[in-house]
Symmetry: C2
Subunit: 305 residues, 2 copies
């Protein structure tokens, strides 16, 4: 089935204990669509870049089967830019600089050809823009998944709750789940958040895996312990992209299939962190993905007798 | 098969965001033997308490099938005492006071009847004492598992490495694994530690579960997300006690059986934190344990197709 991702396409400048980059390609929608490209061939992107964005990157997305008809190019503007520095533990980071550029005041436009998308992934953006985007569909997509961040809980909580009330699935990290719910226990936090509207909640815990909540059901998806984590940028988006790409491929939103989706998403994220930026997830083979997923089976499987 | 636990029996005074206790019963060997009592009936304890230790607690251990012939009572001395205060996140704590008391200079004595134990659990103690204890067996126990802590890495690293080189299985937490190995990545840390001697390494990650390493094999055992964590004291020891108790019950130290042991250990730990001190793990039914283990099956199971 078709997937549409609406989100940022960006330049990132990254500093980790292992090295630094100049401006490289980043952005939530970039990671999401690249990860999803290994699962679904109907993979559409809505976003905006400036005239400074390299054509060869758009071509690379197209080569991965990503349809970029919805990627606006504002020739006069500059692409959204984020500069971040990771601490030694790689679990925390400082933002050195953010330039909204063309994202400032951006209103996503949904091309007619995307109106009938089945799966809609709203990448992290201003909640009011996510909400306005959702209202632009003549027919509500079958499954709407939304990602957000702590910043919007600080400055736009009401807008965020408004859009959350209309989606099917929310993905946030553990500290965001605590902030959104006011509960420290993730199990209690999940109850509070599920009452806000979405039927499904995914709490991302980075190197500690992820939790899937739906009604009274819980599934824990491990993260693969890695020898080296080179750059965590985009891992959460890659995880979400693998997840929603798998759901779109299989056209199955049952709890059991979501479990599989999370395993595929976690496998994709484990590749993402092996190199800077999108480098690793631009160059994967199906064989590598299958082998990595088998590592998850080995990692998590047990039999009681 | 028979299990012998050598470790501290103590008084703890605890402060958590949920309340405070006066002096209550604690100590590694207390938690380990209580947890193991639900699995094995040959459950022997070597340790020391002072004349201030309540007889009814020894009776309670005996009622759980724990053989306390090896529990020395120093009528003139006072029982080891630890006073700790947990922070709001329950993941970190401050030690307010430690009184070694009868543990100061204590040398464990192994009763003749314990000489042929199959499984030996060396609870967290001075590494030189753990090492001396291991040398007191005429015949090396079939399986030796050792727990330790960061303090000994700070003040007695050589002694610690000496005893680690002679054991089968080491249990430590994630920050201790990093300190012991000098590696941040737990996968790299595990390689370094396995080269120190033990064939098996268990890295405890608290609310984030535990990792089992053996050769190139890795298993991830989740922790159950709980609505309330009331008091984390003893959770690591309870986890180890459930694990080694299960191994002793089944007399099977294969990797697959260790996986099962970890699930049982994690289930026991999930009970432990529900109440202060040993209260919860003193009052469990087999039915409760079986139901809890089934929650782990639900939590962790997935099928690829």
């Amino acid at each position: 089935m078709s997937l549409l991702t609406v989100g940022s396409v960006a330049f990132d400048k990254l500093e980790t204990p292992f090295g630094k980059t100049d401006k490289i390609i980043g952005g939530a929608a970039t990671y999401i669509t690249l990860a999803a490209s290994y699962f679904t061939k109907e993979n559409n992107l809505v976003g905006i870049v400036g005239g400074d964005f390299p054509m060869e990157m758009i071509k690379s997305l197209n080569d991965h089967g990503v349809d970029t008809e919805g990627l606006e190019v504002d020739e006069e503007g500059k692409t959204f830019f984020w500069w971040g520095r990771y601490h030694n533990d790689m679990n925390s980071r400082d933002t050195i600089e953010t330039q909204l550029n063309v994202l400032d005041g951006y209103e996503p436009v949904i091309p007619d050809g995307y109106q009938n998308c089945d799966f809609l992934m709203l990448g992290n953006m201003v909640p009011a823009v996510q909400h306005a985007t959702l209202k632009k569909f003549n027919k509500r997509p079958k499954f709407v998944i939304l990602d957000t961040m702590n910043l919007w809980m600080d400055v736009a909580m009401d807008d965020l709750k408004a859009v959350i009330s209309e989606i099917d699935c929310l993905t946030i990290n553990d500290s965001e789940a605590r902030q959104l719910s006011g509960e420290y226990s993730l199990r209690k936090a999940a109850k509070v958040i599920l009452e806000m509207g979405p039927q499904t909640l995914i709490i991302k815990k980075g190197e500690h895996g992820a939790l899937l909540f739906q009604g009274d059901k819980i599934f824990f998806c491990p993260a693969l312990p890695l020898e080296d984590v080179f750059d965590p940028t985009g891992a959460g988006d890659t995880f979400a992209g693998g997840f929603v790409g798998y759901l779109a491929k299989t056209n199955d939103t049952s709890f059991d299939n979501m479990k599989r989706g999370l395993i595929y998403g976690s496998a994709m994220a484990s590749f993402c962190v092996e190199k800077f930026g999108t480098e690793r997830i631009q160059n994967l083979t199906q064989k590598e993905i299958d082998a990595r997923v088998m590592e998850f089976v080995q990692l998590a499987s047990f039999e009681l007798s």
